[in-house]
Symmetry: C2
């Protein structure tokens, strides 16, 4: 029922045509034009610019207070299932409310239901850091409200984004073939690494079929490869692209959870021998479960020989390359046809900002470009302009480059380098403490800021530890399994986390088993 | 090259294992732990909360000024290809800069490159309105920086979103089968209508194959149907899902650009007769080119009989149902398996906010859910909680419900109703003026706020009119083609557009031919 149910639905008097029979009267536009003059000529915004100023200042102050005080809140939401909804009206309001009333509900209802990802005791999943300048970049994007689907729909949105991807290529030490100024490559901001993976699969699918898949949709011979430790988005992307799990080969891994390239080579050969078409390999630079690195240089030379698309997934760990001593996270990347890492994880650019590069933009565009008349432009027709709608699944896109630009310029890369180095140092110190306690075992390599623990007493004890840790003051942690064994992941990556927080976390953990 | 190239890459001394041979030293974590204490224990943020307050207030004021003054700017960007990039440093800065320096570049470099979608002379594409409260909702989302991929990762993010979809169901007068509290349905915010279309196709693909497609990836019998006037995202979504254009049937339309349901019925029967599997029909409620409505009630009964998924695309026009006299835009929607409309177009919730509903969430979840260990939770395992990651392509997601909640509560639905009514009234008044001028022809039904014109002198004259209009003070317009004829689209939908703007636009246009 509409909010203004006092008004009746306009009937259609002309029953003579199909549309009219369906209750639509496109031939009778005058039916919709009867409005009182005072309604008709009034500007359609209730909140005035001055109220926006006042409310905006209040909200900025609220966020500043949140940033300062986030550590005093519980890290995990304190609500039970349904609590948030039950505390809010089931039906929409029939008249406008004040900003103060809404912010009171934010404090009263929303915040107890928020799990605080910016909390210093955030050791779960991976970090999802924001930063003061990136928050403001997002604000400016919302304020401008422009659409960057094509160059012509806001040239600055496209050109700043291409430049930011080139800046990031340089800052991360990535191959020059990924630059937007290169012959065949370029970069784009995707909403998430999952979308980056999907478009990589689609570009690979296009190349492997010489584009035929766009017309025949025949994916029944295509085969993809990754380890069991690759992110769930690989399998999800393959499923979306119509490559079923029957043709997703799980490549064996070694005792460090890294792909065995010798096994990959054999599997590709076996599939080819029976007439299948190996088309996509995902190599992990930092798996989600344990932070493992696949041997991309070895994998890459196999892919080159076999003409298979190599996508490297560095969603979390790739950002470590901002600090030069960690540029080894890029080893082998010169073999990659596509690569993704997320400034919205370990850098300080709030979600969503997933940077994606390819050395083969023609396959990407072949997979994703569609040009109806209403999207044509002289700039696009000339081929000189980048139209980012053809680099992604959605058509519309926000001005996301602003938050990356604001963060790099105002926060400064040195601040991100300090943060990354500090997180790695804290993790290595924690590893030493763990090694000194016989009850705990470190169960995977931990060259960066993710460490996987188990209790010597076995899975049940480890599961109990994770449950009690999450219920304690220690912080928030994620459980995973490594080759069937229960494991506690400790990811140290929130911008607010200090060595004192890690020390307190460890003291808490030690007291639990 | 990294920004701090003074530091050397850390070598790996242990050449005895595979990872080490690749330059990685997971066994030597102490290499990365050598940091000076002052670096190591310093908080990793340069911009202080007080600076954030000050910069934030400045930016809020800048946006308020932008909102007030947007009409004084040119509607289209004034730059040539490459101008924006050329005015910015080709390489990233090596030290932090002030917020003032960045905002000076926003004014100097970015703004001339921005096409102003909030401009009162915005008559191009469709509107992409923001509003003061929704801008602040986006700001709060960025400030909190939470991830709503699962209920457990921030319960409020999920529960507020489900409630907002139920509010919108009620406000738009949509069928109760779409409510999240219903037996089989529910709603979710997608990033764009393109993503909504894609997930609808994936759910349909899952249902038509009884889930087999997840394993065998065999899409070679599936057939989809829509008119040539359906949005490009339908074809793009089908291509992504591995249903090639060979099996995308273009259903003939009538002289109002609406699907001929009799033709659809024949095509479905013909495909079934040769062993193909009709699985997806898209019905348009407001096409992009002309705003045409397909006869969904007729289409829907055909789909029911044939067991074919019906997706209704009301991306732009569906929002009109906020005003009860326009709830005819929903006619037939009770037959839909899925439906999408965009608050980020004609409502005042800044992009991205595309509301999507289905009456068959089990097919949607069947298509999109994947549950690795690190994403498990008690809440998810119980089946009681919604985990929205399984309703969409990406894993991560922002707290987008905030901007919809803020807009509905602070701006108020009555403000959006006034805006919609005002836009429709202006369009109908314009239509009357056009009808009174023999040189112009209205070439399609225009029951809402989109009107398509051509010159009586033919396509060349119309093309010249569009080009000169876009180069003039008249505003910004989009060219399209309707059955091969050049057409000028005039979309009246910016929140800032008043009758005086439309009158001035028409006076400008009349002076051009």
């Amino acid at each position: 029922m509409a909010a203004d149910s006092r008004l009746h639905r306009s009937g259609c008097r002309d029953g003579s045509n199909l549309l009219a029979n369906l209750g639509r009267c496109p031939t009778q536009p005058q039916r919709t034009a009867r409005l009182r003059p005072d309604v008709r000529f009034r500007r359609a915004a209730r909140v005035t610019p001055d109220e926006f100023r006042q409310n905006g200042h209040e909200l900025i102050d609220w966020i500043a207070d949140y940033i300062v005080g986030v550590g005093d809140r519980p890290v995990q939401a304190t609500v039970k299932l349904g609590d948030v909804r039950a505390a809010l009206p089931e039906h929409p309001p029939t008249s406008p409310e004040t900003f103060e009333a809404v912010m009171a509900d934010v404090d009263r209802v929303i915040m107890p239901g928020v799990t605080n990802w910016q909390h210093p005791k955030w050791f779960a999943y991976f970090p999802a850091n924001n930063s003061a300048p990136s928050i403001l970049g997002e604000l400016l994007s919302a304020g401008l409200g422009v659409q960057g689907m094509s160059w012509v729909t806001s040239p600055a949105c496209t050109e700043l984004e291409a430049l930011m991807l080139d800046w990031m290529q340089e800052l991360l030490g990535l191959p020059a073939q990924f630059r937007s100024t290169s012959e065949t490559g370029g970069g784009v901001i995707q909403g998430s690494a999952s979308e980056a993976t999907l478009v990589a699969i689609l570009a690979a699918r296009f190349r492997a079929t010489s584009g035929a898949v766009n017309a025949d949709g025949n994916t029944t011979k295509l085969v993809a490869y990754a380890t069991a430790h690759s992110h769930s988005s690989i399998e999800k992307g393959l499923r979306i692209a119509g490559v079923g799990t029957d043709r997703f080969r799980i490549v064996p891994h070694d005792d460090k959870f890294a792909m065995r390239s010798d096994e990959l080579e054999k599997m590709i050969a076996a599939d080819r021998a029976v007439g299948l078409v190996p088309f996509f390999v995902a190599s992990n630079h930092g798996t989600t479960s344990s932070g493992a690195f696949d041997p991309t240089a070895l994998i890459g030379s196999i892919c080159r020989k076999a003409d298979v698309w190599l996508h490297v997934d560095g969603a979390w760990a790739g950002i470590a390359a901002l600090a030069s001593e960690f540029q080894w996270v890029n080893d082998g990347i010169e073999f990659a046809d596509s690569y993704c890492t997320n400034p919205h994880k370990w850098m300080g650019v709030n979600f969503d900002c997933s940077t994606f590069w390819t050395n083969d933009r023609s396959s990407l565009l072949g997979a994703l470009s569609i040009l109806p008349e209403y999207l044509r432009s002289t700039a696009a027709d000339s081929g000189a302009a980048i139209d980012y709608r053809d680099w992604q699944v959605p058509l519309g896109r926000r001005f996301r480059a602003l938050k990356l630009w604001f963060a790099i310029r105002c926060e400064g890369i040195d601040a991100f380098q300090r943060m990354i180095r500090s997180h790695v140092a804290m993790t290595q110190e924690l590893a030493a403490w763990v090694a000194a306690d016989d009850r705990f075992k470190v169960v995977a390599p931990h060259p960066l800021s993710l460490i996987c623990l188990a209790l010597a007493d076995g899975d049940a004890a480890t599961d109990a530890l994770i449950a009690s840790a999450n219920a304690s003051e220690a912080g928030h942690f994620t459980r995973t399994e490594l080759d069937g064994r229960s494991v506690m992941r400790i990811s140290i990556g929130a911008r607010t986390t200090t060595p004192a927080h890690v020390r307190a976390m460890w003291d808490n953990l030690r007291a639990l088993p």
